[in-house]
């Protein structure tokens, strides 16, 4: 059972590596923000799955702030692109 979770962890790690190529190189800033979104969502699942795999329940605390932070990044970048400044 836990070996299959390890395989899923490796799948997520490969996906994060592929996303980070776009995040570093992407043609426009929108693509980079999308890739950073996808990296964060994959990292949330990676953290929860590794807290199951390593039997460390306190690892999973970090998942909620990560999921909240990426929404703030989306809103800030969208506002900056639309108006030219972050506003108040």
């Amino acid at each position: 059972m836990l070996e299959l979770i390890l395989i899923v962890l490796i799948l997520y790690a490969v996906a994060i590596a592929l996303f980070s190529i776009i995040a570093l190189r992407g043609p426009t800033i929108g693509d980079q923000v999308l890739a950073i979104d996808a990296i964060t969502y994959a990292t949330v699942v990676l953290i929860v799955l590794s807290s199951i795999y390593f039997k460390e329940p306190t690892l999973s605390v970090v998942a909620i702030p990560l999921a909240l932070w990426i929404y703030a990044l989306d809103i800030y970048v969208a506002k900056y692109l639309e108006r030219g400044d972050l506003g108040a």
Partner: protein, 135 residues
């Protein structure tokens, strides 16, 4: 209650636990595959607006469903002790947060990119909002 009926009840409960664990595990494996598909889609799609589709595959199939699956799996995972309810609650709440916030965020970023004309609609059939971005 006689001994045979209590044994039947115990076997039914064990079947339910096995079912919950199997469903959770299937959702986790599905999430891993969907996340890999989303990563490949990021490289194969041509422009920003098509990559939004790859992002949403990686969001709902690759994040919400495996988190619900992890919640179902940890409920039946005895080796974590009493902390398994904690991990299950955290992953369920995170799944709800992602389910609410991820579509709002991707709509906001798509609107911002289209209004600021940052990304062009490169293989273009029609762009009814702004004809200059086409082609």
């Amino acid at each position: 209650m006689s001994r045979s009926t209590s044994r039947e009840v115990i076997s039914v409960l064990e079947a339910i636990v096995t079912l919950i664990r199997g469903v959770g595990f299937a959702l986790i494996v599905l999430g891993g595959i969907a996340s890999l598909i989303s990563a490949i889609g990021f490289h194969r799609f041509k422009n920003f607006y098509l990559r939004l589709h790859a992002l949403t595959v990686g969001t709902i199939w690759g994040c919400v469903y495996p988190l619900v699956g992890a919640a179902l799996f940890t409920i039946t995972f005895e080796e974590l002790g009493a902390y398994r309810w904690f991990v299950a609650g955290v992953s369920f709440v995170t799944a709800l947060i992602v389910l609410m916030l991820a579509p709002a965020g991707s709509h906001a970023i798509a609107r911002g990119v289209h209004k600021s004309k940052t990304a062009r609609v490169q293989p273009c059939l029609a762009d009814l909002l702004d004809k200059d971005l086409c082609g």
